[in-house]
Amino acid sequence: MSLSAKRLLAVLTTFVLTACLHGQSSRDLSGLAEAFEPLIVQQDGRLKPFDTFARSNLLVFNQKSKLVDMSASEWLVELLLYPRESYRRPVFRERNVEVIQALGLEIDKKQDSSDRQYHHYSFLQLSEAFNNILEDIRAFASKPREELSATEVALITLYQKTLSYYALSRSFSGLVYDIEITNDQLASELGLEGRSSLNYVKVLELRNTIAEKIEAISSLSPEERQTPYPMAVLYLTTQLQDKIRDTSAVSLKIVPPEANQDTSEWMSPWDLLSGRPLSDWESERLEQIVSMTLAAKRGDASAVEDQISALRGEVTARVPVELELTYNKGNFFNRSVAFYIISCVSLWLSFAFLPKWLYRISLVSAVIGFLIHVVGILIRCLIMARPPIATLYESVIFVGGIVVLSGILVEVKRRDVLGLFLAGVGGTILHFVGFSYAADGDTMGMLVAVLNSNFWLATHVVTINIGYGAALIAGLFAHAYLIVRLVNRASKERIKEIFNVSYGLTIVAIFFTTLGTILGGIWGDQSWGRFWGWDPKENGALMIVLWLLIVLHGRLAGILKELSFTAGLALTPITVALAWFGVNLLQVGLHSYGFDDGVATNLFYFCGGELVFVAIFATAIYLKEKQQRPASSKSAA
């Protein structure tokens, strides 16, 4: 891990420069943001709309895809066009108290539940704070990562975020006319009729003339340099030195290459301003982005739209920009989880009053939520032109859909509330698990070569995830069985029915997990030359199959009675969670995607909670029924 000392100093110098007396803007950027949204940006190998780029970047800094008072696109437009105002906006969300203390920042107290600015800091606050501990940061950065404490890693991560934020803010700095010429004679010599400022594009055009001016004043004595003309040249030199530091601000890649636009690397504005000779194509694109930026600075959204349309050219037809914007604005999974929550609440209320109506509302809400959920998944498939699951986030969202569908189907078949309730609960929980993965940035990442196979993504990956979903819903029904049997022992028929449903879902889960595991083996055979390699991910899938087979055969052998079978089945979600997330923590094996360090604690609590729940309920049922048995025998006698 190493950070360039020069870069640190350069950026921090600019931090100080930017600590000027500008307040936070109340400028309405909604129109401009809307105009910018369809601009195509290449990021992480994918062509995506500006809006998605803005959202994924904001997630990195803020862990949310919008700010309290502005959308992600508005935030990014402000950052690009009015960076000094954006630097004062509390965008960085940092909840690690030790990091905040190490930076010497004030830990803001949460006033009430509506205080949504809790633990938010501006770029200026952070840059000033980092300035004070710069030596420490450099010392941390020179150490191997495994020797750093969690707080030190978090500090370096936050520091790198501030650097990225700054670099992003300078993406358009070569296009805007902010290099001031403070002397009329100099302006005239540079051919700037009626204009007192330059942009870096113009500087490149005039570089020979400017170099001559700088050369000319270098021979002057210190006294002679104090006159207005040399002072203006010196001031221009200082501004150019600052400007040149921005040449590394190349994260906003919006300029398509002339050929192979889908497969070649795109360019940022600063890539066109390196001073190398530009092709006609590149010069034309440069003119377009300058015009776009100037129009944006004027607030002319319509002109921005025109320039973006020209810049996108033929690529537009091949990149589903409109569809992705619809997906972004649709917030499909936020809406589906809202309906699942409504479904659960209605169902609870139906036990108290209006049972038939509230039950219907609950069922309809679950179905609407599921349909929105499916539409969200389908749009993602269309945007990425691949099957629904390729990342951990997509896997969680898909399995959530399977759980909800299974619950609804059971409900439609049996109409006994339980399927509907578990659909709502399971769907909601898995949505929130998915949201935690969405906070990492763009959820539509490109795939490594071995995963880049639509056939196997559509077969093995989908099947094993249906298996996860089926195993989870079987486990949820087992939980319901334990609860119902403990609190409502009178309804033996009902208990038996829940047991039967759990048993049936177990068989379905065995089918899909077995098929998925074998298909995974066949994929392994096709890709790596072996059907089974005892890789942690493969072992995880086998673990679920084995666990389900153990409880099923235990029941068949008469070793497990109805209670112990269901208790075993209720532990199935543990095997699913370990196979799904747990094996990634080992960080070994060929399935080196989806690794996640932060999940360990949650997984530990989940597994512990499940074990405690099953142990308490199974023991309580056993003891309760043991006590009741002699009593009922006596009364019968």
């Binding site: 290449q42 795109w266 880049n452 196997w456 068989i507 077995t514 074998i518 084995l546 666990w547």
Partner: protein
């Protein structure tokens, strides 16, 4: 006698036996998976999954240093195989409503048979080829051999290779075309070469004159281990002495005797192919602007006698030829040159999973169709 055989058969065929065996297999599975973090896949696989019995629990921190004998994965899978076979022979109710389970169990049996063939009769290795090069052999991932290469013929080399019991301390190699006696004095599975602190004795030759071997702990990623050997040569004439051999060593250890030049090479065991593979071009495509590989593929010629066939090998699209399968595994960039790494597998049990998965899924599907409607029976009222 017949009754007792049936009783034994009933026990072997019982779901209870499967239940307990599967629990044990699950324990091994968890242990072997966790162990991979600490001792790597190869050691873990040999200890837990490919063993009949094991005594130590490598890679499980709380059991480190303890001797706890336990049946291994191979034993558990054999019991499962017998259990499934016995179930099908002794305890199969040949009824329509049990068709699904019978078929599914038959598929499971076939899968285990395939596993047996793979475990005992498959050979795995890799072939590295630079663009323009061709090769008619491939190297085993783990097994080593000591090759004695007679370089005196003009157009070819005579190679005699010694494996298995010869790759250990105390092994003696003589005869079989070796012009003297080679005694393995020391063997290290992982070692590095360091410059010697003091002058070596006069009988130390080649690399051993200026360097010394430093044994190292086994690396969890087994392929990273570099084996080393100290061998003593006698009967070779003036070149008799002590030599150091290091796996993958670029400087050849040469011995001259009776007017012939021999090279000693400690290397991954090589298997001869009945044809050759020539790499024409290696193509790598990245996701634009990233270091993430989108696709890589090798354009090769399959050379067999006078025939030449052009084939493309890419991720998920292997080349199948005479029971050998070539997979695009990796690549190496060495300056301007590119090399492909092809995984080469010869697996007698390769087709079993394909057939058994179809059979098992048909069986499970039928079982679901028979059982599920009854289990999901609708209640009469809310």
């Amino acid at each position: 006698m017949a009754i007792s055989v049936k009783r034994i058969g009933n026990f072997v065929a019982s779901p209870a036996l499967f239940f307990y065996t599967a629990i044990w297999l699950l324990i091994i599975l968890v242990a072997g998976t966790i162990a991979q973090k600490y001792v790597g896949l190869y050691v873990s696989q040999n200890a837990y999954f490919s063993s009949w019995f094991f005594f130590e629990w490598p890679g499980i921190p709380i059991l480190e240093g303890l001797i706890i004998p336990a049946p291994g994965g191979r034993f558990a899978l054999t019991i499962m195989f017998m259990n499934l076979l016995a179930k099908l022979v002794f305890k199969s109710p040949w009824r329509w409503d049990r068709t699904g389970t019978l078929i599914a169990h038959g598929g499971g049996l076939l899968l285990l048979i395939g596993g047996f063939f793979t475990a005992y009769f498959s050979k795995e290795g890799n072939m590295m080829l630079f663009e323009g090069d061709s090769s008619g052999n491939y190297a085993d991932y783990h097994e080593l051999e000591l090759a004695v290469i007679d370089q005196s013929p003009e157009d070819y080399n005579n190679v005699v290779a010694f494996r298995n019991e010869y790759i250990r301390e105390g092994a003696v190699i003589e005869g079989s075309g070796v012009p003297g006696k080679i005694t393995v004095r020391q063997f290290f599975r992982n070692a590095s070469v360091l410059r010697a602190d003091s002058p070596a004795p006069r009988d130390h030759k080649g690399l051993a004159q200026r360097f010394r071997l430093a044994p190292k702990e086994l690396d969890p990623v087994f392929e990273r281990n570099q084996a080393a050997m100290v061998v003593e040569l006698s009967g070779f004439g003036q070149d008799d002495g002590i030599y150091y051999l290091l796996q993958g060593m670029r400087i050849p250890q040469l011995i001259e005797t009776s007017g012939k030049i021999f090279q000693l090479d400690l290397r991954n065991a090589r298997y001869i192919l009945p044809f050759k593979i020539e790499l024409i071009d290696f193509i790598k495509r990245m996701h634009p602007g990233t270091q993430t590989a989108k696709d890589y593929r090798s354009i090769v010629n399959v050379l067999e006698g006078d025939t030449k066939r052009r084939v493309e090998i890419s991720m998920n699209q292997p080349l199948v030829k005479n029971q050998y399968i070539f997979y695009q595994a990796s690549f190496i960039e060495d300056g301007d040159r590119e090399a492909t790494v092809l995984a080469v597998v010869r697996n007698a049990g390769r087709n079993y999973p394909y057939v058994s998965s179809v059979i098992m899924c048909i069986g499970l599907m039928i079982h679901i169709l028979f059982r599920l409607p009854n289990l999901m029976k609708k209640r009469r009222s809310l």
